[in-house]
């Protein structure tokens, strides 16, 4: 079983949908420890990505092409730190997926490249209360699932569940990176909005593979 270009497009459309549905929640999370624009920014970015997909005249040849479209659009429309961070994640993922289909290890390569992009751009590590705290366990779970012979859909399920647990675990962390780090201990007892949006986007990936 493999995932194809239609999956990638479905993932993007479901990402737009979930970001729209959780727009207020992300705004509220970001208002507590940041500047309150994360929900609005992601909504604007993914809305723009959907519009570009709608306007495509020819079907993308491979998965990387879809992800590159997402990368460039998010970079120029999202603003804030999330634009370059997600943009770089999709860009590196695109470079790792210049293929018409992905097997389980291909999915792992996609997720690993995305995490590498975020770490390279944001220079954050786990435990700093950032989106890395959702991405890192997601990649770890994906590797374990693929090694155990899981299907691509099951690999994404495992990644999404781990991202959710990772996002939940950011609640008790004190931010040491990003805007929330200005708050120091006052950043505790709030979920990191970037970790939460990571979970939503990975759940969309899993849902598109069902």
């Amino acid at each position: 079983m493999t995932l194809d270009v239609a999956w990638a497009i479905g993932w993007v459309r479901l990402s737009a949908q979930t970001v729209t549905e959780h727009r207020s929640e992300l705004i509220e999370l970001d208002r507590q420890i940041g500047d309150g624009d994360h929900g609005e920014n992601l909504f604007r970015g993914f809305t723009a990505v959907t519009a570009k997909l709608d306007a495509l005249e020819t079907q993308p040849a491979d998965i990387g092409e879809v992800l590159k479209l997402v990368a460039t659009t998010l970079m120029s429309t999202v603003g804030g730190a999330a634009g370059p961070l997600y943009g770089t994640a999709y860009l590196r993922a695109a470079k790792a997926t210049g293929l018409p289909e992905l097997d389980s290890h291909g999915v792992v390569a996609l997720l690993e490249a995305a995490l590498e992009g975020i770490v390279a751009r944001g220079k954050a590590r786990t435990g700093e209360k950032t989106m890395v705290d959702a991405w890192a366990p997601a990649v770890e779970a994906a590797v374990a699932a693929a090694d155990a012979g899981a299907t691509p859909a099951a690999v994404l399920e495992a990644a999404a569940a781990a991202a959710g647990a990772g996002a939940e675990a950011t609640v008790e962390l004190i931010a040491t990176k990003g805007r929330a780090s200005y708050l120091g201990e006052r950043s505790q007892h709030h979920m990191d909005p970037g970790a939460r949006s990571t979970e939503l986007i990975l759940r969309a990936a899993a849902q598109a593979a069902e």
Binding site: S76, T77, G79, G83
Partner: protein, 235 residues
């Protein structure tokens, strides 16, 4: 002299605020006339933020004719967005653009004055980054070891203008000294660095000690003494 040389390296000033980017460009432009200063401030909607498109367009402008540029950024997403623009750019373009890890205003001023002298990309970049070392510290420690050698041309001159070596005269002196093939120290500080000169805090009546080494040491010292004694048109 520096004034006649071709100015090749542009500066791209990326700030969350349009007003801050344009203000830094105005300030640096006054001290280094003719240097290409591209302000990329604010978000796409004109409010606070950083615009990928504005930075991309500034990079395209700066590199269009084979030119190069140093990018100065203020906070967080300005840095990330500038890095993203370069990651997406053609390798040829990206190789001619360098991000400076430098304080925004001081870095812009220092880099602009260095670019004005016709310095290459690496030198302008280094000048911006060295601006970060100017915070808080005393005179550069390396300076003390470089005096009292044979072949050093020395002179003293008293500051005459009431405001002393403030930004404008410091920029005039730094630009002028950068044009000579000589290493010039003023009270132990690098004479070709506008920030080092400003940091001396030399006010009216202060006696500046100038020392120069190199093929054009004598004419550099002579020009320096003449400029300071002339009061920079302020007396």
């Amino acid at each position: 002299m520096s004034q006649g040389s071709e100015v090749r390296v542009a500066l791209i000033l990326v700030s969350h605020s349009r007003a801050l980017a344009e203000g830094a460009a105005e300030l640096a432009g006054q001290m280094a006339p003719g240097v290409r200063l591209l302000a990329a401030g604010g978000g796409d909607d004109g409010g606070l933020g950083t615009s990928f498109d504005a930075i991309e367009s500034a990079v395209a402008t700066a590199t269009a004719d084979g030119g190069s540029a140093v990018v100065l950024t203020d906070l967080g997403s300005a840095v990330l967005t500038a890095e993203s623009v370069l990651e997406l750019a053609d390798a040829d373009v990206a190789s001619r653009v360098r991000l400076a890890d430098a304080p925004f205003v001081e870095g812009a001023v220092a880099a602009a004055v260095t670019a004005h002298g016709g310095a290459d990309l690496a030198t302008v970049h280094a000048s911006a980054e060295a601006a970060g070392d100017m915070f808080g510290a005393g005179p550069e420690p390396a300076a003390a070891a470089e005096v009292a050698q044979d072949g050093v041309v020395r002179a003293t001159v008293t500051v005459r203008n009431p405001l002393g070596l403030h930004a404008r005269p410091a920029a005039v002196l730094a630009r002028m000294l950068a044009g000579y093939d000589a290493k010039v120290l003023v009270d132990g500080a690098n004479g070709a660095s506008v920030l080092a000169l400003m940091k001396l805090g030399a006010t009216e009546g202060h006696e500046l000690r100038v020392e120069a080494e190199g093929p054009q040491a004598a004419s550099a010292v002579e020009a320096f003494v003449e400029a300071v004694a002339g009061g920079f048109g302020e007396v």
